[in-house]
Structure formats: structure tokens, C-alpha cells
Amino acid sequence: MLQIALRRIALAPITLFVLVSFTFLMIRLAPGGPFDGERELPPEVIEALNEQFYLDKPLPKQYLNTLKQAITFDFGSSMKHRDRTVREIIREHLPNSIKLGALAISIAICVGLVAGMTAALNANKFGDWGTMLICVIGISLPTFVFGPILQLIFGMKLKWLPIAGFETPNQIILPAITLALPFSARIARLARTGFLEVLKEDYVMSAKARGSSMARILIQHVLPAAVRPVVSYLGPAIAGIVTGSLVVEMIFLIPGLGREFVEGALNRDYPLIMGTTFVYGSFIICSNLTADLLNRWLDPQSRGAEE
């Protein structure tokens, strides 16, 4: 397993290289440039800016420069917010995204597993239908609807929590729940299927025949096998939570990276797109790798393999 991990880690730089190259190509193919605006800039200014941002050079040179920037992780300053460097933007905003994402994924896992398990244990009964109905709502209810509802209930009516901001610890709760909702619903569905499948296994029956209590059976015999589809989903889920936080960031005024990522793309802010894509790319590679290894570890047969 260690070898698989090492091999995958060794592959990561290649993946990132492909990602950077592809992104470079795509943003230059996208119509419109970073300095286009409603108000036309004087040509001399555009020329000066192009020079400043290396855009006056031929494409191969720009590409090499981009590669150099990626290797040194120094993408220069943003084209839109010219008094901020990309590195600074990432340094300031990534921790917030991670904080929010980590809490959201924890909520999603806890709520999802409990809901999925409850549903599976009450398969085809009221508890199951109820939970799954909530899940369908959770998946289909858009964040931009759910967030404001939470704000209205907990911020306005009950006045328990602040409406927006990211300066005090209690401000993270509502956005984390909002962000977690669709993921916990999806996890619940996966967990339900997982539990249902494992509960049917002969070894569950034989554990029962040994006199084990339901709790013991669930935790020791069922859970490790039942969570495997959930764990497989965690890789994409973590990536989705971190990159998909844009709407939540906007609703709850959170200085996260999702905002910068999307605005970078909309503004054709080449260095910012590169920097954020690079960070997200690395993040997704890491989370996929972790989920994959965790999944292997849960299965003793593949845990032992190739060791």
C-alpha cells in the first residue's frame, strides 16, 4: 500500500504539469482579455500592462514563464487587483476555505452516515422514506435558497447566530451547514445503499448468531464495509466542497478561495486563474489519493496487497 501511495504521489507532478499546460491553453483560447472593460483603456496603457504581465511575449515564452511560476509557486500579481499578488490572495483565502470545508465535510459525513444508517435499518418503512425524502430535497435544494433560509431562521428570527461574516467562531456554523447539505444528502444515500448491502451479508447473520448486540454488529461488522462507497465519494466530495463554495462564500461573506477562483475566470485574470487552479488541482489530487488509500486500507485484502 505504501508503494501505491508513493507511486501516486510520484505521478502528482505530472498531473499538475498537464493541468497547468491545459489551463494555460484554455485561458488563452477564451475570448476576451484581462484588460477589456466597459471603458476602453488607452492603447498605451494596455501596451504597458501587457509588458508588465508578460503578455507581449510570444506564446511559447509565456508558457515557459507560466511553468516557471508554477514551479516557484509565484504567479505574480493579479491583473484585476493589481496591488495584490496571487500568492498573497491564496495565503489569505485558502485557510478560510479549508476551515469552512473541513467543518462542512465533517458535518456531511456525520449527518450522512447517521441518516443513511437510520434509513437502512428501517428499510422501506416510514423512517426510510422520510430520510430519503429529506435527502432528495437536500440534493435538489440549491444553496442559494437554503443559505438565505438558514439566515432568516437562525439569524433574523431566532437571533442565535450572525447572518454573515467570518470573524467570530459562531459565524462559520451556518455556512458550513449550508455547504454540507447536498453532500450529507448524497452521503446518506450512499451510506443507505452501503448499509443495506452489507446488512444482507451472511457474516452479519453469523455475527448475530454469536450473540452480538445490534450496536456491536453495526459498528464492528457493518460500518467498515458499508462506508466504502462513502469513502470513494469523499475524494470528489472534498474537492467539490472546497471548489464549490462560491455561492456560500457570497451569501455569508466569507473570504474564501472559491470566490477568487470564479472571479479570476470571469475577469480573465490569468495569474489568478493559474494560481487557484494549481492550488485546487493539488488539493483534488491529495483528497483523491487520501480517499483511495483509506478505501484500500478498509479492505484488508488490498491493504496487504503489494506490500
Binding site: A30, P31, D36, P43, V45, A48, Q52, K80, F166, L253
Partner: protein, 538 residues
């Protein structure tokens, strides 16, 4: 200790006496009548709508940045927020030559930067030179072109000492102009013309965040990007005593719904924009306000593309578009329909001709007379371009429906992402598209200049020699009335005769403000000087 206290008492009395004796009437109107306000905590919180692009006066172009710069800095002049007429700012007085081309500004005595150093005339020449250096990347550099040789320096043809701006001494700044520029005093209040402290190292891109030395009523205390900005009074401000707020919190919320909820909960005192989706509800709230705004929503015709290559078609659409239906039934956000392009500018007494009225018969006659009339060239299909946004979409749909019903023009509305839209518009790769323009300074030229044949903002393919000539004449004219008449004629060419554009409605600024806030005067330029604001609870 005693000594210090005594000193401050002296200082206070001195200030009070200046305030009473020397403060001009327009400013006295903006002061509280008594001292009751002191009982209220002077912390003002508002939503700035988005993260400011930059607090570098030469890089900022967006309204969120400009709103802050107006309170962090001060230029030679300031605008009276009520009448929008220019008033002395850093300049105590000025003289102008008979040909109105040479201005000499005398700075007030004892002006200081927020770090305590003295403000001199050289800080202006330094800043303007920076603005005119292309490498700075100042988007508004061409705003300075009315200064003698400024354009030549910008293009690299002349050195800066040939440019018509000179520090005669520390206190006096001389500006030489290409032609009489009646709006000079107005435009000098704009951030591009502010001075900059020469000691700050601007090679570090982050200077405006880390080392922000300014000269206005407030200074930047803390800037948490995309979270909160905190402003506090500048102790070295020339008129420290007029600043009543102790702290200002600026939030960059672009989710208007969240901002609205925070306002309702009492976490914000001022919302300069409202959530359009909840307009009906907001409108009924007692804290809601609406004010006219210095901007026009219009559509551009590509005059090189059929059917808009025929002026009769353009005129017909100008007559035949029911704008009242769009503003009154579809948008319902307080906007009002207009036929002209340039808004009213009361400070200089300008009111543009009203434009073409809604007249369906006339419109139909014009279509019939055009080369796309019945029995002639068949009316081609049209595509209407707009950038992706709900508000633009509903206007596009309304226009499509109206033109189809009235003229049988089959039009397809096509939306595009902002940058793609801009590119298509710039390359004249469209037939008709939505547009808008917001004026930068209090003069009609801020609107009319964009349709000069050589303007990069023209984007219609339209060129009119008379129009260009009128603009040239206006820039050389020192008689105000004559000058305004030139502009009126330009308006007529633009919106009645040639019609390369079709104005739809005038923007309004809508917001919410709590009744505890005083001294925040809405004007049609949306210029807010935070220094006049105070809070007073009943």
C-alpha cells in the same frame, strides 16, 4: 497633563470659532444643530457592494473603490454634496487667466498627510506624472489630456517638464490647459487628480494596502480582503473637527439579500444597493430611498449591419419602442424612461433635449419608407446581444416582443459572458446590443465624448463629422451658454437624427438607510462624503 488639557481646550475653541465664523454656508447646512449626537456611539457600518478593485487612486475604476477614495483623500476641490458645485478642498483659492487656460491654485496652509508630513504642490505633480506614465496602468490617464502636452508625454513624445502642470512653490500649483475647460474644478475632485505622498515606495504592489498614507478625513485602519475594511478619522486632516464618526466598517457583500437581512437585523446602517428580487418588499420599508443617477441604459446599433445601416430603421425603433412599458411594467425598479442620452446636470444648468417621443404611426411610416419597407429588401433577422444577467434578459425579451409585434422584426436575444460580450461589442461583431454609461464628472462631455468617431468607446461603427466638430468647438469655447448649445446639438444628432443608439431609461440609485444616520446626502452623481455623516438615536 494640565498643559496638554489646556492646549486641547484652546484648540477646540479655535476650531469652534472657525467653524462658526469661516465655514461657508453650504457646509454649515451639513452640520448638526446641537450636540445631542455625541450621546450616540459613532460607528457607521455600510455595505460597499463588492471588494474594491484597488485603493491606488490611479488603478481604481469601480464605484466601490471610488466611494472609499473620496473619503480617504481630498483633491484641490471638493463637491458640495447637495448642489454638486465645486468648492475649495486642499486649495484655499485659485486664479484663472483671461483665456481660461492657465489656472493657479493656492494650497491651504498647514496641510498634512496622515503620517504628519506636509502636503506640497509637488505631491500633485508627482501623482499626475504617475497617472500619465503608461506603465502605471492608469485607466483614466486620458482624463488628464485636457492639460497642455499631457497627451504628448503620455505617448512618450515630450518630457514631463513640458506638461502644463507645475509646482511654482510648495504652496502653489499652476495648471496650463489645452483649451478652456469649464469642468476643470469639478473634475479636480475626482480621485485621478488627487495628490500622492512621495515617500511611499510604490514599486511594492501592495503599498495601497500595507502603507496607505492619505490626506482625507479618514485613514485605512484595517483591510481584511473580502471580509471588512475599517476606517478611522485621520488625526492630521485639515478639518478634523468636522469628522464625527469614530469608526467606519465597510463590508464588501455582493449578495444583496444577505446585506438586506443584515440591515434588517441592525447590523448595517446603509445599503447603497438593494436586492432587486425583493424590490416590492424593500420599497415598502420606511428606510428605502430612491434617487436619480448619472447613468443611462441604452442600446447600440451596429450601423454597418443591416437592417440598422438604414437610419430610418433606427429612427423608427426610437419612435416605436415603448420604454414606459419596460420601466413601468417589467423592471418596476424606479427607473424612468428617457429619449435622451445625457442626464440633466443642474450644477451647470444643462438639460439635454428630450429625444424622440413614443409615436407608433411615425415609426411605421419610417419603416415603410426605409429600404426594408414592404416590397423592398426583406427585413433580415436580428440578433440582440447582452451580457448574462437577469435584468438585461428581461429587457431583451421585452424589446424582442415589442419589435416583433410592431414591426415584424424577428429578433433573437443572445446572452454572453461579460468578457466575451465586450470583445464582440468592440469588434462590432453584433447587430444590436445592450449598453450603459455612467458619467465620471459633471459635464456633458463625459457622455458625448464616447461617440466621437475616434473614440475607443464608440462601438457602433457610427461617425459623424458635424458631431466631432461640435465636440472640438465645445472644448475650445469659454462661453458656457454657447458651449451647452453645442452639446444640445450633439444630443439631437445622437438621439434624434442619426440614432446610432437608442436610450431606454435613466438609472436610479436605490438603497436603504436607517433613520439614525444624518449628513448622508444623496445626489445624482452618487458621491458620498463620509465625513459629514453622524449618527443620532432618538
Amino acid at each position: 497633563m494640565i498643559h496638554k488639557a489646556l492646549l486641547s481646550i484652546c484648540y477646540l475653541t479655535a476650531c469652534v470659532s472657525t467653524a462658526l465664523a469661516e465655514r461657508p454656508q453650504w457646509e454649515q447646512d451639513l452640520l448638526p444643530e446641537d450636540d445631542d449626537w455625541k450621546k450616540t456611539e459613532q460607528v457607521f457600518r455600510f455595505n460597499n457592494g463588492t471588494e474594491p478593485e484597488s485603493l491606488d487612486i490611479h488603478l481604481a475604476t469601480d464605484s466601490a473603490s471610488i466611494r472609499l477614495l473620496l473619503s480617504l483623500y481630498e483633491g484641490l476641490t471638493v463637491l458640495d454634496p447637495l448642489s454638486l458645485s465645486p468648492q475649495p478642498g486642499l486649495a484655499a483659492s485659485w486664479e484663472v487667466s483671461d483665456d481660461q487656460k492657465t489656472w493657479t491654485f493656492k494650497l491651504r496652509a498647514g496641510l498634512k498627510w496622515s503620517d504628519g508630513s506636509t502636503i506640497t504642490a509637488k505631491d500633485f505633480t508627482y501623482a499626475w506624472q504617475r497617472a500619465l506614465t503608461p506603465a502605471t496602468g492608469c485607466s483614466y490617464a486620458n482624463m488628464l489630456f485636457f492639460i497642455e502636452n499631457a497627451e504628448a508625454f503620455f505617448k512618450g513624445d515630450l518630457p514631463f517638464d513640458k506638461v502644463g502642470v507645475k509646482a511654482i512653490n510648495d504652496q502653489e500649483l499652476q495648471i496650463k490647459l489645452k483649451g478652456p475647460t469649464p469642468y476643470l474644478l469639478d473634475i479636480l475632485s475626482f480621485p485621478t487628480f488627487f495628490p500622492l505622498n512621495r515617500k511611499v515606495d510604490r514599486s511594492d504592489v501592495a503599498w495601497s494596502k500595507k502603507n496607505h498614507i492619505s490626506n482625507g478625513p479618514f485613514i485605512l485602519k484595517d483591510w481584511k480582503v473580502r471580509a471588512r475594511m475599517t476606517l478611522i478619522p485621520n488625526p492630521h486632516y485639515r478639518d478634523r473637527e468636522i469628522v464625527k464618526l469614530k469608526e467606519i466598517h465597510v463590508l464588501p457583500l455582493d449578495n444583496m439579500n444577505t446585506a438586506y437581512q443584515m440591515f434588517l437585523k441592525g447590523e448595517l446602517d446603509w445599503l447603497p444597493t438593494i436586492p432587486q428580487a425583493r424590490f416590492e418588499e424593500v420599497q415598502r420599508h420606511p428606510d428605502y430611498y430612491v434617487a436619480p443617477y448619472f447613468g443611462t441604459y441604452f442600446i447600440r446599433f451596429n450601423v454597418e449591419q443591416p437592417p440598422f445601416d438604414d437610419v430610418k430603421v433606427r429612427q423608427a425603433l426610437a419612435y416605436g419602442t415603448n420604454k414606459k412599458q419596460i420601466t413601468g411594467e417589467i423592471l418596476r425598479g424606479g427607473q424612468f424612461p428617457v429619449g435622451n442620452f445625457c442626464p440633466k446636470i443642474p450644477a451647470i444648468g444643462y438639460e439635454a433635449p428630450a429625444g424622440l417621443p413614443y409615436d407608433l404611426n411615425k415609426a411605421k411610416q419610417l419603416i415603410a419608407a426605409s429600404k426594408y419597407g414592404p416590397g423592398k429588401v426583406p427585413m433580415p433577422n436580428v440578433s440582440y446581444l447582452y451580457n448574462t444577467s437577469e435584468a438585461h434578459k428581461i429587457v431583451a425579451e421585452a424589446l424582442t416582443q415589442q419589435w416583433k409585434e410592431k414591426f415584424g422584426i424577428s429578433m433573437i436575444a443572445q446572452n454572453m459572458e461579460w468578457k466575451v460580450f465586450l470583445k464582440e461589442m468592440k469588434n462590432l461583431n453584433f447587430q444590436v446590443c445592450r449598453s450603459s454609461w455612467i458619467g465620471d464628472y459633471g459635464d456633458p462631455s463625459t457622455f458625448y465624448d464616447i461617440f466621437l468617431s475616434y473614440s475607443g468607446n464608440n462601438r457602433t461603427g457610427w461617425a459623424n463629422k458635424e458631431y466631432d466638430k461640435l465636440a472640438e468647438k465645445a472644448s475650445q469655447e469659454s462661453n458656457t451658454q454657447k458651449r451647452l448649445n453645442y452639446f444640445k446639438r450633439m444630443e439631437v444628432i445622437l438621439t434624434q437624427e442619426d440614432c446610432p443608439i437608442l436610450p431606454i431609461y435613466r438609472y436610479v440609485s436605490q438603497g436603504m438607510i436607517t433613520e439614525d444616520v444624518f449628513g448622508l446626502e444623496m445626489n445624482f452623481r452618487n458621491l458620498v462624503y463620509l465625513k459629514y455623516i453622524w449618527l443620532e438615536k432618538e
